[in-house]
């Protein structure tokens, strides 16, 4: 079993999945072991799809890079007053504070 990034479990999609699985476990229809297997499957699927199938690109430009950190191959950026642009829909969203956590893209999965 190859290892995939588990950070996508904290996304909206991931959290929704975890809530549902938790409900099932509390009802008693699913074992804990199965939940773990499902989440691993989720990791594998989302990593695969994000790297191969999804081509959307967003651009963002910030007024100020407040802080950065690079440790264990993970970049963390804290930015202020960011303009996020979607080139396909031509919309711009302005965000006051943005935190970007970026892991290195691997060729696995």
């Amino acid at each position: 079993m190859t290892l995939n990034y588990t950070m996508y479990r904290t996304t909206t999609l991931g959290e929704a999945l975890e809530h549902v699985l938790e409900d099932f476990v509390n009802d008693g229809s699913i074992t804990e072991h199965l939940v773990k297997r499902m989440l691993l499957n989720f990791d594998k699927a989302i990593n695969q799809k994000l790297s191969t199938q999804i081509n959307n690109k967003m651009q963002f430009k910030a007024q100020k890079l407040q802080a950065y950190r690079f440790c264990d191959n993970v970049w963390t950026f804290l930015m202020k007053d960011v303009d996020v642009k979607d080139p396909s829909s031509q919309s711009t969203v302005t965000v006051q504070r943005m935190k970007v956590v970026a892991c290195g893209a691997t060729s696995r999965g």
């Binding site: 802080a67 950065y68 690079f70 440790c71 264990d72």
Partner: protein, 252 residues
């Protein structure tokens, strides 16, 4: 910035106020403890720690500088604009390390704090005839115009290396304290003031980037060739021949 008064050659009444601007102060010290770089990187901002390397690099905003921290507790700080700022940065980094490593109850001192290098620049209000300086002081100076633009003067006390340019700009490197920098500039002034000259009279070599030389006549002829269509291939101006020769050369 160190202000430095001196009397110009123009007259002892007018005193020109020259500022020595310190561009870079490099210092290092060591902390008496082992630093867990990964823990430090996770708990502090504006830092970068490669898994492969043994160095954690950090950037500080006030005072602006780059910091390199090693496992052993050695810390190098580069980029401060003054000795005091350098010391302040050193202490604040030391404090941060102390907090993150959880040694707040112990007394942590900066051991062997040392300023390695100070880079400072100063501009004299007159031009300097470098080659004459080189001729008069051949032992202390090194001037190779094909290698560097300026003359390098290596001083022993204070220990510093000074680059002197024709425009009057003086760059002091390798000094270990601000006082040394002032002393070096004063000494250089003493040596160099006999070789003053007017800056505007200095011959500046032609700039390297040249615009392509456009031969207006040539291009006109080329246009004319195509205008007169009933030439029967005969070229009245002889341009055809020149182009043919060029082609022959290109074949080589």
């Amino acid at each position: 910035m160190l202000p430095w008064m001196m009397n110009t050659a123009a007259g002892s009444n007018s005193e020109s106020y020259m500022t020595i601007s310190i561009n870079n102060v490099v210092c290092n010290y060591s902390l008496p403890m082992h630093v867990d770089l990964r823990k430090f990187a996770l708990n502090s901002w504006n830092c970068s720690y490669d898994r492969t390397g043994s160095i954690l690099t950090k950037q500080k905003r006030h005072p602006g500088c780059h910091v390199k921290v090693y496992n052993s507790g050695k810390v190098y700080i580069v980029g401060c604009k003054s000795e005091a700022a350098s010391r302040q940065a050193a202490r604040s980094v030391g404090r941060e390390i102390q907090k993150i490593m959880g040694k707040t109850d112990q007394k942590v001192c900066l051991r062997k704090f040392r300023i390695n290098n100070i880079l400072a620049t100063c501009k004299f209000p007159f031009g300097i005839l470098i080659d004459q300086v080189n001729r008069k002081y051949p032992k202390e100076t090194y001037y190779e115009p094909e290698l560097t633009v300026g003359l390098i003067w290596r001083m022993t006390e204070p220990k510093a290396s000074v680059r002197i340019h024709t425009t009057g700009t003086i760059v002091v490197t390798g000094a270990t304290s601000e006082a040394d920098v002032s002393l070096a500039v004063e000494k250089i002034y003493g040596y160099v003031k006999d070789f003053q000259c007017d800056i505007s009279k200095i011959h500046h070599p032609a700039p390297r980037k040249r615009k392509p030389v456009i031969n207006e006549e040539f291009s006109n002829i080329k246009r004319q060739r195509y205008e007169f269509g009933d030439d029967d291939g005969e070229d009245e101006t002889g341009v055809d021949q020149i182009f043919d020769d060029e082609n022959e050369i290109n074949d080589f």
